[in-house]
Symmetry: D2
Subunit: 329 residues, 4 copies
């Protein structure tokens, strides 16, 4: 506790130098208990910053210590392992790349569950297999802790602007405790049901997103070949039953919309490898539950092939480019 208090003090001092917190009263800061944050990658780092911005003392760690520097400068306490975070915080957020990382961070030799305090609230915002989420929840419960899954919709931009949407699964009584933190990092939080349903909702959304995006790319391609102007075709689709998020908000055809990756050579946005990963999760859960997902399955294959043909790091809307037959070929 002494250490934590000291940590908070350092935090306050540093804030004065680095961030404009003129709107945050010292009184509210003093009353907030520290929050652990594990995983400071492209998404986790801005999320943790938003917790700090909202007055939460943050105790952080990452497999790559250099990822913690920026947060340290903002006043976070940086420790060496998830276990050390668990010793110091009774609410912990995790934001990790994939299922094996989550398993390691929770149940590994220096994992959270090695030192977790009874009653700790564990919120995992990684996108992982719902079955792994359920396993983590069981393991946490054995230690007297509560695990919730809360994957996000929205990318790095939404994380910075605290505009993420969280899809939350877990015991309903604990949802409000989680919500208090999640609303500091996002604009919406939706309670989806028992543990794993947050992941399920995320996976479902991204599968339909991928289908809609590839479908939009095919359709725009076909229309252009048939002599339609891409902007006009988009307009027709968006006022008709072909309308979808990929046609009206994130159009994959260069020149149709501004401010989207297709307007910037498919840089930024949501990478093809990440989409392929999420579709792999959807495929696995579909196989496990014996659910037929023919288009989801084909979408997975298309993004898989794209990864091997040089599109791995482009935004997933680059499927428009991938499918287009070029002149002279």
């Amino acid at each position: 506790m002494a250490a934590l208090f000291r940590g908070s003090r350092i935090l306050i001092l540093r804030w004065n130098k680095h961030v404009d917190f003129s709107h945050v009263s010292v009184r509210s800061l003093a009353s907030k208990t520290p929050v652990g944050f594990i995983g400071l990658g492209n998404m986790g780092s801005p999320m943790a910053k938003n917790l700090i911005k909202n007055g939460y003392p943050v105790i952080a760690t990452d497999a790559f210590p250099e990822s913690c520097k920026e947060l340290l400068d903002l006043g976070a306490q940086v420790v060496d392992s998830p276990a050390q975070v668990a010793e110091r915080a009774d609410r912990i957020i995790t934001m990790l790349p994939s299922s094996p990382n989550v398993i390691e961070v929770y149940t590994g030799p220096n994992g959270i569950l090695k030192k977790v305090k009874k009653g700790t609230l564990l919120v995992d915002s990684s996108t992982i297999d719902p079955a792994v989420a359920k396993e983590m929840a069981v393991a946490a419960e054995k230690m007297g802790a509560v695990y919730m899954d809360a994957p996000v919709s929205g990318g790095v931009g939404a994380a910075s602007l605290a505009k993420l949407t969280f899809m939350v699964g877990g015991v309903e009584q604990e949802y409000h405790a989680a919500q208090e933190l999640l609303t500091c990092m996002g604009a919406n939080a939706v309670y989806c049901g028992q543990v794993g349903t947050g992941q399920a909702a995320k996976i479902c959304n991204n599968m339909l997103l991928a289908i809609g995006m590839i479908g939009t790319a095919e359709t725009m391609n076909l229309g252009i070949r048939l002599g339609l102007d891409p902007k006009l075709l988009s307009k027709v689709l968006n006022m008709s039953s072909g309308r979808c998020w990929s046609s009206d908000t994130y159009n994959p055809v260069p020149g149709v919309m501004d401010g989207v990756p297709s307007a910037n050579n498919y840089q930024g946005g949501f990478g093809t490898t990440l989409m392929a990963k999420d579709l792999g999760l959807a495929q696995n859960t579909a196989s496990d539950t014996k659910t037929a997902v023919p288009l989801g399955s084909l979408a997975h294959q298309i993004y898989r092939v794209m990864c091997s043909r040089g599109y791995a790091n482009k935004d997933f809307s680059s499927v428009f480019q991938f499918l287009r037959e070029e002149e002279g070929q």
Copy 2:
């Protein structure tokens, strides 16, 4: 001309008995020239009625004479063949099931082009291969007539309520002449470009619609298997990037929305065979233009299989039911 005038008079007399035209002044009626209408099926019949309602004398025909009865009662003049329509009207609308019917009605032995007057405006609202539309336009031009393609979005309900959307292809100078008639039968008309682009836009929209619908069905199915409530999942999708017309306006899962075919055992709506037909057109134009449409192609196959497994006459959203693994199997 005498015959036509007589036709108009009968029309007026009958109107008084059958329809409320209190808002239509006799003056405007008197000034309107007759419009030909060929093809009085589920769609054509309410469309022709809306022309009459707007004060146009209608000269109609159909391969099945009994289809004309209702229109006759409303005052339309019914003739025996497309050629006879062409002798009597200088604006003609056609609404036919498929490409071969269009070819027959335009270029057959008793077809429009056998008797068409110079300067006649021919507007085809059938959904057909854009290549056939182009052929008809060339054939019409040889006779001094103008052909435009103007397929519709919206079903029987929209046709009755004059809420159709028309996608129009053809010479731009003639668009306004067509528009005058189209706005009597629909809420929107979009000029898409040269002849065939109306068909192209229609086909593109329906391909993306089919992809979105199957994708939504798969996604809802998977989510339900993973423990999500269907209404909640729809809500999550609709506030996220998975949103599409099939998820937010025409949800295929019984119980999620009212007033859609899924709420009524997939009766009414847009039949699976019709969707399979439109996807066949999309596939053919894609093959002809060497365009890759992997999801569109698979959607076509899925609707094709559904036609053979008892879903031919159900609404196309019944793909949700088709893909769902039932209990005990």
Copy 3:
């Protein structure tokens, strides 16, 4: 040891009554050490019988004790659990439905590894995820035992006639010890490499088999629609580059071949659910290894839908029937 010896004696006595072993000398019987057999289903039962026929004392168990009756009558010693088998035999064959069963039988509370003797050879003929096979091998090695995977090609008929093909993965030095037993139950054994490669080969074969079968069904269907006689079309394919096992050995069209499931209303053979299961394994290993398998993936989906549309228990060649559009639809 006394129990086992007694078991063997009973075995010999019972053999004289039920099976013709006139060609098996008592001398060879006496010299053979007992073999454990776990999993006496449709496949395991005839496989175990063939071991007995070849003079091996068999110590058997199954989750459903009634499955052991026939084997008991043939002289096998029946025990209560995999652990008890492991106490009594130093070569054990397992033949189980799926990965979870294998995990239970090997590592469960009454599993083989609870009582396995050092140096025991464990041969698993189940078709499971290669990753699970590797896990079992590691677990076995910790106990000083050797695990090999040896899934089979060929169905119940081949199992009865000892005509199975085994695809074997594991330490090469142990292969010959396994081969001695496998050749009693099959016509071929192929050494494929390290642990898991037997499963890999099996999964690969069945994925290509499914693709070839669906492809053959589609092709025959299309040819028949185009006016070709099915027997003639099969002949043409089989002398050309379209030739495959499904066209020349197991044709899915009724009337083309005798003695195959398509000649018997798709009864018998290899059930659609089993194929769907194997394709699920292929899909999972493909996702895990980031391998693009578009046709394999679609084949999986097709068999998955068939399971839900009443084809679960028909032979997998019934996809011909599933895809065929019936008259009047």
Copy 4:
């Protein structure tokens, strides 16, 4: 006739210089009537040479006159148009790239049917839409000529060695007259039924071939990822139910077989664009006949995408390379 006789004489003189015809008696040459040949591309040229080799005077033409040079040197009479061929020969073979070329050569302004003599036998070895073949047959019949479709299996190599297989559709009574010529150019001819069934058989074969090839490529790729040696995996497949022409005769994995395109950087063989064309025909006939061909359809899409990603001129077995995820991606 004088012209033809002169042609034949030149033919004989030239033969003595260029080709070894020591086994061909002058007597038989004298008795053979000339054969027309239209379309001297990669396939047509060696086919026409084989007719000459078998003693048939050949009267040839091609849209690109330079294509005729080699044949001219071998003694063929070269004329300017299909119509001129039709004036001089009463048996004519055509070998053209696609449906529009066939329509032009038969029914165009300088087409065969402009000058065809009654009773002429027209044999089209192009691979085209069966519906176009039927139209040509009707048009030929009106002129008193007989049209048969006889597309080939086997590539340029088989054409040179007279090892092609012909699949023949048309009136059965005329089959023997066609067979006499076809057996000079190929090893097999199969009578398939009425006009169009030769094309149907060809299209069906190539659709199944494409499915088998992509399936083999996926399977080999997956197996290699799972640690199997490609040669060993091929051996296992070829002795099991995964066996197909693409696995045992034309394996797509470099290093598995000699003398196939995969051993030569996918040079030579059957190009991806040609396969995409044939799959487009299969798709169109399937759409027209309302036949579900899900794998055939996806195969079409895959080859279509390959055409746009730089594989257009590689052998179609290069799909193995296309689907493989490279290191570091």
